[in-house]
């Protein structure tokens, strides 16, 4: 029979404390999986069961069409991450998992920003786009849409800059990550 076993009520603070324990650095997990239906559901379900919030998730083909690559970023303290990767390894369709070290990894994300840009503001936004090596992919008299590629921090920095001008919409793909050097991720 489940706990709590006693009639002492638990305060909401206690319950919050019990559920909010895991905050640590962001982990980038790169998972090579068999390209089969239902695999993503299995992975996502496992994270949900273990109480992990997936911050970003990307799935795409690899050079070998039998496999897909799932890249996801999660916030987690070291120990539970270890438990999650072990549990992921138990999924029959999962071939390989790497908890990528930030220093040894190239990460990229693509984002689209639709920003209000009229009058003087317009040239300033375009200037920022240039500094961030972004591309203007659409434009109206009152707005521009800018594509920015880079690591998550760079995209966050661009967002901070343009937000005051009126950020109409933002979309981000989530990070993909590849290990540095000759060997495979």
């Amino acid at each position: 029979m489940g706990e709590p076993a006693t009639k002492t009520p638990l305060s909401l603070e206690e319950l919050d404390a019990a559920t909010g324990l895991r905050t640590g650095r962001t982990h980038v997990l790169s998972i090579l999986v068999e390209n089969r239906p239902g695999v993503l559901t299995r992975i996502a379900g496992l994270f949900a069961r273990r109480g992990f919030n997936i911050e970003t998730l990307t799935v795409g083909p690899t050079a070998d069409d039998r496999f897909s690559r799932v890249t996801l970023t999660v916030d987690g303290a070291l120990h539970p991450i270890d438990q999650v990767t072990k549990q992921l390894h138990k999924l029959v369709n999962v071939l390989k998992i790497r908890d990528l070290e930030p220093a040894g990894t190239v990460t990229r994300e693509l984002a689209l920003f639709k920003v209000s840009a009229e009058g003087a503001a317009r040239s300033e936004v375009l200037e920022f786009a240039q500094i961030f090596r972004g591309h203007v992919v659409d434009s109206t008299k009152r707005s521009v849409t800018v594509e920015v590629t880079g690591a998550a921090e760079k995209i966050a920095a661009f967002e901070r800059l343009v937000r005051p001008y009126g950020l109409i919409e933002m979309m981000r793909t989530g990070e993909i990550a590849m290990s540095r050097g000759r060997s495979e991720t």
Binding site: M1, E3, P4, A5, T6, K7, V33, E34, P37, G38, T41, R42, G45, L46, R49, D82, Q83, K86, Q87, H89, K90, L91, V92, N93, V94, L95
Partner: protein
Amino acid sequence: MRAVDAVMECLKAEGVDVVFGLPGGANLPTYDAFYDAGIRHVLVRHEAGGGHAAEGYAKATGKVGVAFATSGPGATNLVTPIADAMMDSVPVVFITGQVRTELLGTDGFQEADTMGITMPIVKHSFMIQHPTEIPRAIHEAFHVARTGRPGPVLVDIPQDLSRGEIEYEPAGEISLPGYQPTVEGNQKQIRQAAKALAAARRPVIYAGGGVVNANASAALFDLATAERFPVTCTLMGLGAFPGSHPQWLGMLGMHGTRTANYAMDGADLICAVGARFDDRVTGKLAEFAPAAKFIHIDVDPAEISKNVPAHIPIVGDAGNVLRRLVAEYRALDTDPARLEEWWQRLERWRAEHPLRYDDSADSEIKPQFMVQALHQATEGKAIIVSDVGQHQMWTAQYYAFERPRQWINSGGLGTMGFGLPAAMGAKIGCPDDVVCVIAGDGSIQMNAQELATCAQEEIPVKVFIMNNGYLGMVRQWQQLFWDQRYSHVDMGRFPDFVKLAEAYGATGVRLTDKHTLVEDMRAAIDTPGTVVVDVRVTREENTYPMIAPGAAARDMVG
């Protein structure tokens, strides 16, 4: 041939001699194939009964159990047995029918997302998308179910695909790139473990159901007796080490013996084999075995350091690792005298805190006495299949199990209603053994319909109902922790189990006198066919000793 005939060929190739199931619309083609396939099919009365029967068969024989059900409600009725098999690592293949592919996702009649519903509770599952995939999926399902850490595997077959015309070729070696269980065990780690055991002054071997699953009891015995290592087992591990052996401390955990729990509390080295440090074993985790270092042997790497950090982790098959650990240990120069002081303490605990209860002064049957009487009536040799509740704990405590697979119960999930159908499977798997169920009056009612299956299929299980008219374990917790507010636990004296047995075509007996209990039980066991014995026991008796939830092992009560 039809894909469904290929399914039958797969079952034969996997050595399946019995399946449990119930037909329905979506698996009509499969059942047409059963008609003359030459495989024994046991028609259960509820799919959950079929699932648990397959588990009981698997647990008693070590082979893969098989259960069939139709789509929708048939499949959802299997959810409990699937979850049960997952928690207790039982190798079972579940094959469900699914609606025709054109109806998938349309809320068709008897459609349920069986894959989605069961995904968190299976070891693996296959959704068939083309008839030609069926044979391979079935063979892979058996492979995954039985290897590594065993578990349930589901194959969901849409009705139209099962009618497909395919070529069947027996599958060769199964190789799944993402599934390579580690069985060997790292030699360096094994050597480290041997050294740690040789240096330990207060060691305990803590064995779980993994030892039974790996058929590693003999190897466990060799390790325990390589020195005079004390041994305790989890609920699932009972029988992995003989209950009559002088080095046996009894079960550990919430309702374990004081000796076993105090031993864990005082140990300087705990060698865990095929056990997973469940909360029912550890009690308050922060105060669990405070002085101990841990060797943890498990075939599932995810169990290592999940709850308790392991100092010497060894991933591998328990039998393989234990045999090599014994060899490494024997090669060392060890001093048996180092354990003497520890044994003095253990013997003192054993003498001071034996399992005990106050027997009745009159003819009333105490539940503990009932288990002892059954032990006597069966000479301790029967396969005992338990349901879930107080009776389960008393049986674990008082029926000294001598051999692995003699004790079958639902540990992890704690599924009431498990006992009778599981016993059905066990009896079919082990026809030469006496198979007895110990059930509560609450839990027997959760799958009592399988008495009809037992009667029709002539499965002579002997069902002993420990009848106290309560959901006893809940009542105990309400008494101890909720101010005796007995909220909805009184089952009254319903039903009349003797009449119920007779209605189902079984023999019914009621026993109320402890003085003749052993011989009455013997007579019931000797009665041919399915027998239901309604044993009236003390109504309000508590299971002791007990580690209160959230308390530490050393603070056992009762």
